[in-house]
Amino acid sequence: MLEAINLSCVRGTRRLFQGLNFSATPGELIELRGENGSGKTSLLRILSGLAEPAEGEVRWQGKKIRSLGEEYSGAVAYLAHQNGVKDELTAIENLRIASGIAGNTLSKPEAQAILEQVGLSRQQNLPVRFLSAGQRRRVALARLLTSKATLWILDEVLTSLDDSAIKLSGRFIGDHLANGGIAIVATHQELNFAADRVQRINLSQ
């Protein structure tokens, strides 16, 4: 279970949000909304453990994420604005190396199967720099699928995806939730994900 307790975030001299409390249990989707600059990305970075909140704390299974350290990193997959894939590597290499570094070795057929799921089986041996923006986003989605994380933190996951890829990512997130995962999604678009429990947080209010 993820708990955010009395979080506040300050950027420069501006207070983006304060006194933010929420919690998420397995199978729950949190939809994060807010205008540009309302602090969605900052909140996601705090939840992923990359940034520190100005006040408050984040707890995972009842313990502060700071004290959990690498144990928490293993439970989190963060998909940022940037795809976090290397342009010089092929899609397969990207997946295999990313999982290898995370400590779960991924065989070549496994990587191919996942790329097929995201519709990139024909582009799997091309360096990622030759792919379109949407296709790169699909590689990033594939990386998400290879992670064994319980908590998915997704920042504008649908950016530059086409209709079929949007449906696809909705299905992936639905599956993840059905398997007892938690997803936190910042978005401007309508999400029509198959989620039983959805919690909406609006940072603009």
Binding site: E70, S73, Q82, G84, I97, A102
Partner: protein, 219 residues
């Protein structure tokens, strides 16, 4: 996991080998300019050789520091690395090792050829290679701190030089000391041991400092 990380950086370096070669050629050219500028006086050349080779190695390794974390920072893979369930110390150590293999080891290998231009004896050439072999890991390790601190800043390259070059001074003194000793016909052993001590010291502290700096830079 460590192997995957080093492997990744080696592949990336291979696919962008022009960057690596540029650093190597910089080293070759800087070292070669001195005999051309100073003239063929054997004694003078022999005296300046250790200093020239070592200073050129410091400058060349400076040039490659920006690449150490810069590319990963820009495409978001650095964040992903920091979010893997591995200690940041190990990640930094892996990246530093890859940096040494890619950017420093070629300098070490080519140094004896360059030393020939200064009329150094065989024995001194061996000591040049040995001192660079022991000393250059410190350049990668200490340099990683500067590279991490200046991530995402404008004029990062100049700042890295200002931050890191003063920290390279002990390595420069010990490294040139070793070569100088062998040119003068005395034993370079003490200097090499001092160099080895700086390697151990920086191996313990530098990755730790770099991890802290990376966390600040990414935030």
């Amino acid at each position: 996991m460590f192997g995957w990380l080093v492997w990744r950086d080696l592949i990336l370096a291979w696919r962008r080998r022009a960057d690596v070669l540029a650093t190597l050629f910089f080293f070759v050219i800087v070292v070669s300019l001195f005999p051309l500028g100073i003239g063929p006086e054997r004694e003078t050349l022999k005296t300046i050789a250790p200093g020239v080779v070592w200073v050129a190695a410091l400058l060349a390794s400076m040039l490659s520091l920006g690449r150490m974390f810069g590319n990963d920072y820009q495409d978001g893979t650095l964040e992903q690395l920091l979010l893997t369930p591995q200690s940041t110390y190990l990640i930094v150590l892996g990246k530093t090792l890859a940096h040494w293999l890619v950017s420093e080891l070629p300098l070490v290998m080519i140094a004896p050829v360059l030393g020939l231009q200064f009329g150094l004896s065989e024995n001194s050439l061996v000591i040049i290679v040995l001192s660079l072999l022991v000393g250059t890991p410190v350049l990668s390790l200490v340099g990683s701190i500067g590279a991490a601190l200046t991530l995402g800043l404008r004029a990062a390259n100049v700042l890295v030089a200002l931050l890191v070059l003063p920290l390279y001074i002990p390595v420069l003194i010990f490294g040139t000391g070793a070569v100088q000793a062998s040119v003068n016909g005395t034993s370079p052993q003490a200097w090499l041991l001092l160099l080895a001590a700086t390697v151990v010291l920086s191996l313990v502290f530098a990755p730790w400092a770099t991890s802290a700096a990376l966390k600040i830079s990414v935030e």
